[in-house]
Each structure stands twice: as C-alpha cells, then as structure tokens.
C-alpha cells in the first residue's frame, strides 16, 4: 500500500474500521392488501441493494458511484442504521450493528457514525438557530451538558468548518447553500465521530463552493483521522476524494478497485461506459461515446447480469447467469463474465481518462 502513503491516516494500518458483507435491502412496494386481494396481484418487492460487500480501512475514503436509482444512497442509509438491512451485516470495529435491535444498543454506535446529507436546505431545521442545530448531538449523547461548555464547543465547531462563532445566533435561511452544508458538517462532527457517511455532499453546490467544501472535508479528514464513505455520481469529485471506489449498477457492486487502478484500467463494461461519459475539459477532441439504453426498472430487473441489455459484450451466458465478484490480477474485484472469460480485452486509459494534464490546468 505504498501508493497510499500520501493519503490521510495511512499509518492506521489495514484493519477495516467498517466491513459491509452481503448487504441487502428490500422494499415492499406492493399495493395495499385489499387491492391485491381484489385485483389478484402478487406482492412486489423492490430489491434496492443486493449482495454488496466492501471494507473501509480506518482513515481512508471509500466511494460509491453510480447513476440515480442504483442503490448507493440505500447503502449509505443502511450503514448508518437509518434503514434496517434485509440481509447481510455491517460490522463496525468488530460489532455487527445491523443486528442491533434496540435504540439503546444502537446509541453508542450512532455517536461514532454520522451522516451528511445531500440537500442542505432540507437537512437543517429552519426554525432552529444554528447554535441549537449544532448542539443537538452534544445534548443527545450527553457529551456536554452545561450551557457554557455547549456554547464554547459550538463556537469551536463552527470555527473548525470555517464559519464564525457569532453565526450560532442565526437561522439556516441566512446562509448560502455552501455555508449550510458546513453547518451540517459541524453538526456531524459535534459527537466526535470516527466515521462519516457523506451522501452527495456537494452535488447541490456550485463548483467554486464545491471546491471550498471538498477542501474542508479533506482537511478535516487529515486533522481528525476520519474515515469516509463518500457517495457521488460525479466521477471527478470521486477521483479527487477517494482511496477506493466501488461502482454500483442496479443494486449491485459491479467493480471495486483502488482509485487509480479503476480510472486507469477499468474492467467492467459499465465502468468503462461511465468513464466515457465524463465531459472532456481537455478539449482534445475526444468524443464522448453516447451509450444506448437506460437503467432498467429495479422492480423487474433483467435476468442474468443486470447490465446485459446495455452491454455490447453480452452473450447467452450473461443473459441467464448472474456474474459474481472475482478478484483480478490488478487487485480489482469485478463481476463480469466477459472479463472472467477473457472476452473483453484489458484497457489502459493512462492518458485518455486522465485528460487534465497539470501544466495545462490553470491556477
């Protein structure tokens, strides 16, 4: 792991802080019972996440990428315990938190696992002052109880995310989107967590504000030794933030690899497709390859490999047999028959996927 030496918390060793194994989350989307009875319909189960497994070592960032509806947010919510998984385990420091039944049993883990949500407008209570929003975890977890200490701690947290302690007296509507996201970060940090789940934390922000917040998150990770599960559909942001990347399609992980390996030697046809869709800022004249088709309905997924209807390399086996994740030589885990059988030649995108040469970039 010499290549990771420059990243945060590299001294922490390789023991995973979080291990997700065989995670599944199913939602019952059937019509009400009486409708089913009279209309003779069966129950309908939406399998939002199926058989997802990954490890996150302490101090590292693992990212999940994929298009809308691929289940990445469902994984995030299952990890922090907002959803109860339908199957599989979420092991945090050796304890399976997915199997905990009561709020009381869950509570010590809730303090250590926090979440930052996508929409900074919906995730802050508009009728609370910033001071109350940030102090809520302090009070809920009885970290600080005395008013003066709470106030001081809130001030410290706001300073830490680049806001002014005086901002504590204001309401959320007085802040811009980027500043609100910083308030969310301050709230998440209040309980001194080890692990943060960031669900599209910057996709509602303008690029210059996004840069400010991404820098802040990287800086906090370095200073506080945080571990991130980072969810995004923006591949450039994922490349900037992650150590490891998992690509999801229709509720399944199709490829997991170290960041540089994934972007340089993508294996799964869907990963290659996603990399092809990155807008080209280099102006090298590379044309994006528009891919035909759309993501199928997860209520009624195609049999075999979920990607086969859009895959240019699908054959009869892909149409009936679900590919399982297998490790390859480069350390990538990929679930694809074509890769396994060697039908799909390896690709080196050394330069094609890395269009932004440093001397060409301003700033």
């Amino acid at each position: 792991m010499a290549d990771a030496a420059g990243t945060a918390g590299a001294d922490q060793g390789t023991h995973p802080l979080l291990r997700v194994a065989g995670l599944a989350k199913h939602f019952d989307v059937s019509k009400p019972f009486l409708n089913r009875l009279f209309e003779g319909e069966k129950r309908q189960i939406l399998r939002a996440v199926q058989d997802v497994s990954f490890d996150i070592p302490s101090g590292r960032t693992f990212s999940l990428v994929g298009e809308s509806g691929c289940g990445k947010s469902t994984v995030a919510r299952s990890v922090v315990g907002l959803y109860r998984p339908s199957g599989g385990s979420v092991v945090f420091e050796g304890a399976d938190i997915a199997s905990l039944k009561t709020r009381a049993a869950m509570k010590p883990f809730r303090r250590r696992l926090q979440m930052i949500f996508q929409d900074p407008y919906a995730s802050l209570n508009p009728r609370w002052r910033v001071a109350d929003i940030v102090a809520e975890p302090l009070r809920a977890h009885r970290i600080e109880t005395e008013a003066g200490a709470v106030k001081k701690r809130v001030g410290d947290l706001l300073t830490q995310v680049g806001l002014d302690p005086k901002d504590a007296a204001k309401y959320p509507h007085e802040f811009s989107g980027g500043q609100r996201q910083r308030i969310s970060i301050a709230r998440a940090l209040a309980s001194q967590p080890d692990f943060l789940v960031c669900d599209e934390p910057t996709s509602a922000l303008d690029v210059s504000v996004q840069a400010q917040n991404l820098n802040l998150m990287k800086d906090l990770q370095r200073r506080l030794g945080l571990t991130y599960l980072f969810i995004s559909h923006n591949l450039a942001v994922v490349y900037h933030m992650s150590d490891q990347v998992g690509v999801m399609y229709l509720g399944r992980l199709v490829e997991v690899a170290e960041k540089r390996t994934l972007f340089r030697f993508p294996q799964h046809p869907y990963t290659r497709l996603l990399l092809d869709t990155i807008p080209n800022l280099d102006m090298s004249g590379r044309q994006r390859e528009p891919v035909a088709g759309e993501v199928p309905n997860p209520i009624n997924p195609p049999p075999g490999c979920p990607f086969h209807p859009r895959c240019p390399h699908a054959n009869d086996r892909c149409r009936v047999e679900l590919p399982l994740a297998r490790p390859t030589d480069g350390g990538t885990e990929v679930a694809c028959h074509a890769v396994e059988e060697g039908r799909l030649p390896a690709e080196d995108r050394g330069t094609a996927a890395a269009p932004a040469l440093e001397d060409e970039r301003p700033g």
Binding site: G6, E67, S68, S176, G177, G178, Q179, D206, V207, S208, V209, Q210, A211, Q212, L214, N215, K218, D219, H233, L235, A236, V237, Y239, H240, F263, L273, L274, D276, T277, I278, P279, N280, L281, M283, Q287, R288, E289, P290, V291, A292, E294, V295, T351, A353, A354, P355, A356, L357, E358, E360, R361, P362, G363
Partner: protein, 328 residues
C-alpha cells in the same frame, strides 16, 4: 462578416422592490452567429437564466428589461407586443428547460402537444402534423414513435422526456434554441446522449444554440464560444478553447481551477475565497474585486468594460494595462 443572428446590446434586467431596484443583469452585450453554439456559464444567481428568459420574452414579473435591446435577424424583439412575441417564440426561437417534466403538460399526450405546436406555427392539417410529429420523435431517438406518440409524459423516463422537449423545440425549425440547463436533471450516461443529440440536430438543421449551464464540462465539449457571467455581468467571452484552456479573467481562472480533474493528484483544489455578492450589495468597481487575488485600486473604484483580449473580450483592468503597455 455575416450579420449576427441574435445580438444582445447593453441588456439590463431589473427587479423593482420596496427598497429600491435590484439589478440582476447589468449591461450585458453579446451576439450569436447563425448555426453557432454559445455557452453561457456562471454560478447560481449570476443572471445567466434571466438573460435567456429575457431573450425569449419570458421574464417573470416583476422582473423587467430596464435598458438595452435584443435584436433577432435585424428586428428588435424585446419590445414586441405579447401576441407578436408569441409568434416569434416557437417559430424563430425554441426553448428547452432544465426539468422536462414541468415543460410538458402532464394531462395531454406528447403527440397532442407536438401536433398543437406544429399547427400553431404552420398550416399543416392534423394528419400531416401527426406524421411530422412521428418523424420528429424518430429523429430524436425515441423507439417505436408511432406507438409512443400516444403516451403521456409520465410514461416516459427523464431522458426520453427531454428528447420529447427537444422535438417540441425543433418542430418548426427555429433559427435559435435557448437551452437552459438541458441536461442538469439527467444522469451522466443520459446526459451524453442528449448533448450528442442536441449537437447533431442543430448542426443538421443549422440552428444556433444558446446553451445556459453551470457545467464547464458540458460547455467544453458542446460550445463554440463561451460567455462567463458573474454577479449579473459579463466577465469574459471568447472561443471555447481560449476560455477553457487559457482563461484570462481571474474569476474564470478560479472557476476552472476549482473543478476536480481526473488523473490530477492535487491535495486541495484551487478555491475562490468568499461568496458571490448579493444583488443588494454588489461592490463598487469590478463586482469580483473583494474575492480577486489580483485586485488593485482601480478595480475597487471603476467598473471595467469588456475589452478585447486575444480573440475574445475580458472585463478586467489587468488586460487594459497589458494593452496600454503593449501600445506604449
């Protein structure tokens, strides 16, 4: 040089409020040549969408054009009466908006909406219009158009709806399309499909496009020229290659640096300190001066006009100096 298709001259959009008039777009001028794709970028609140809305006469009151002119093929269109503007809209200027669900009427089939638009602007009978509508749906890549034409918008996916909206915008071959964030609501793989489609159709029909977006990547691969807006003003305009690769205005430089790149290992991204000013307190001089790393006295007192730099124009005093030095 051929006359421009559209020229916007000293456009000013204002919102009267109880506490005085807010100027949302201030003295913006640019032109679009026939068949050209002009990208307009900027962050939220930069005035890019308002500029688009003003051109097609869809400013929401109390917003109004305070000053300036919009000229389409030699004819002034910003002061046309409502009914005449309605005819310009659709026939000469088409529009594509961000959210394909709100730009289609959920109560009518897509066929009916297409036929109605075609019949409003041409004298086709309903059978001809329906045939034209099916052709259009096929052209924008909707499978089985003869069946899908009778579907309602909710029966289409987001990408397919945006294709229908493109078909609506193109149905009477307008000279110009205003596309306001046409792919922002779509997934990346669908985004690539829609941009490729828009580009191909506009090339085939010789339609010019004003592409309003916040995404530099979309601009870089679609536009011929780019206008960068900041706080309601034009910061920089020029050929796409110049602006993306060699941005001149410090704001554009910061904006480009703040985009994470794939393959570049940077510990932190370039960030522009602070936020865009509110419309109520735009600083005197250059609107960008409090955040600008290269600001000097003149920037704080006098507003820079767009001045020629390379093949484009930049509203920044740094370039006036260079010019003066080059002259001297």
């Amino acid at each position: 040089m051929a006359a421009p298709l559209l020229s916007v001259e000293n456009l000013r959009i204002e919102f009267p409020t109880r506490r005085g008039t807010l100027v949302a777009v201030d003295d913006v001028s640019f032109h679009i040549d026939p068949g050209e794709v002009l990208g307009v970028v900027g962050e939220s609140g930069a005035g890019k969408s308002l500029t688009g809305a003003a051109i097609i006469g869809l400013l929401e009151p109390p917003g109004r054009i305070g000053d300036g002119r919009v000229v389409l093929e030699g004819r002034r269109i910003d002061n046309l009466p409502y009914n005449e503007m309605r005819r310009v809209r659709g026939r000469e200027i088409g529009a594509i908006f961000q959210d394909p669900l709100t730009s289609l009427n959920p109560l009518y089939t897509v066929g009916r909406q297409l036929v109605e638009t075609i019949q409003t602007h041409t004298d086709m009978n309903s059978a001809q219009a329906r045939r034209r509508a099916i052709e259009l749906l096929a052209e924008v890549g909707i499978p089985a158009p003869d069946r899908r034409i009778d579907g309602y918008p909710h029966q289409f996916s987001g990408g397919m709806r945006q294709r229908v909206v493109i078909a609506l915008a193109l149905c009477v071959n307008p000279r110009l399309i205003i596309a306001d964030e046409p792919t922002t609501a779509l997934d990346v793989s669908i985004q690539a499909q829609i941009l490729a489609l828009l580009k191909r159709l506009c090339r085939d029909h010789g339609t010019a496009v004003m592409l309003v977006t916040h995404d530099m990547g979309v601009i870089a691969e679609t536009a011929d020229r780019v206008a960068v807006m900041y706080a309601g003003r034009l910061a920089e305009i020029g050929p796409v290659h110049d602006v993306v690769k060699h941005p001149r205005h410090p704001y554009t430089v910061g904006l480009m640096g703040s985009i994470p790149g794939i393959g570049t290992e940077v510990e932190s991204l370039t960030q522009i300190e602070g936020n865009m000013p509110r419309l109520t307190d735009i600083p005197p001089g250059c609107a960008f001066n409090p955040r600008c790393p290269r600001a000097f006295d003149l920037c704080r007192s006098t507003r820079p006009e767009p001045m020629p730099a390379g093949e484009g124009k930049v509203a920044c005093w740094l370039f006036a100096e260079e010019e003066a030095m080059a002259d001297g």
